[in-house]
């Protein structure tokens, strides 16, 4: 995914209502009316959010069924989540290595102290 697409996805995810809509859709398909209900939104209000999510490729709306259910497109969300994962992997591993080196330094300090005491 290009950084432009990733930005579009992250911009869509920046809104708490849209994240709540995605969380609802992760349980299964839902109609626009069903999605509007728990958020106390008007139909045009929820439609606006759905359009942003659709443009970001995070959801699709079926044209076949009469109630036109919305569906989560988890592939795009996975890409956004992968990005977060990359950054975390880099630093998780860095801090793991840093911790090892620090323990080495502490052990060395302790043994140096021991040597000094032995000389006194």
């Amino acid at each position: 995914m290009s950084s432009d697409q990733l930005s579009l996805t992250f911009a869509a995810l920046a809104d708490p209502t849209r994240r709540a809509i995605l969380a609802r859709l992760s349980q299964g398909e839902a109609s626009v009316t069903e999605l509007a209900k728990p958020f106390d939104l008007s139909l045009p209000g929820v439609s606006k959010h759905l359009k942003v999510l659709q443009r970001a490729g995070l959801i699709t709306q079926s044209r076949s069924a009469q109630w036109r259910p919305c569906r989560l497109e988890s592939a795009r969300l996975k890409e956004a989540a992968d990005w977060v994962g990359e950054y975390r992997r880099f630093w998780d591993e860095s801090f793991e290595r840093l911790d090892e080196i620090l323990q080495e330094m502490i052990n060395k300090e302790k043994s140096d102290e021991g040597d000094n005491r032995a000389q006194d």
Binding site: L77, A81, R88, R97, E100, L102
Partner: protein
């Protein structure tokens, strides 16, 4: 001998923002943590994933000093990073610019703060990019590799 535990790092990476914060607690006094950050030989031994070897081209850990590190992969791939230390305040803070040379010109500002917790140290690392696109795009291009555990991340992303 003390048991070794893998440090647990907490990340705050909010969608649509141009910053990141990570917090981790390490079992060492902050003077040592500060030394591991500022000594080039020590820094080269921990920064980044193990599969990369760090080549230190410049590492002047004084206020105003430059740093330039190249991460070299086993396949010969190279990723360069450089910046300038805006402020190095022993043993509590390092504030520096950060640029991934694969995408030059997109400079971020990162600050590492070391807080003493008895014999432990809390490291708070904050990085602010010039734009949301920089944050999302630059870091991804500099740190690529396939991911498996991403549905877990997805859950975390949605829980925010």
């Amino acid at each position: 001998m003390k048991e070794t535990t893998v440090p647990k790092t907490e990340y705050v990476i909010e969608p649509g923002r141009q910053e990141l914060t990570s917090t981790t607690i390490l079992d060492a006094p902050r003077e040592l943590v500060f030394k591991a950050y500022t000594d080039p030989e020590l820094f080269a031994r921990w920064w980044g994933p193990r599969r990369y070897e760090n080549k230190i081209l410049k590492y002047d850990s004084r206020t105003g000093g430059e740093w330039h590190v190249v991460q070299k992969g086993e396949d010969g791939s190279e990723y360069g990073f450089r910046g300038v230390n805006h402020e190095v305040l022993a043993p509590e803070r390092i504030c520096q610019t950060f640029e991934y040379l694969g995408v030059p010109g997109h400079v971020a500002l990162q600050t590492a703060t070391f807080e003493p917790l008895g014999n432990k140290t809390r490291i708070v690392a904050h990085i602010v990019f010039q734009s949301v696109m920089d944050r999302d795009g630059m870091v991804a291009s500099g740190m690529q590799e396939g991911a498996d555990e991403s549905m877990e991340r997805l859950a975390e992303l949605l829980a925010k």
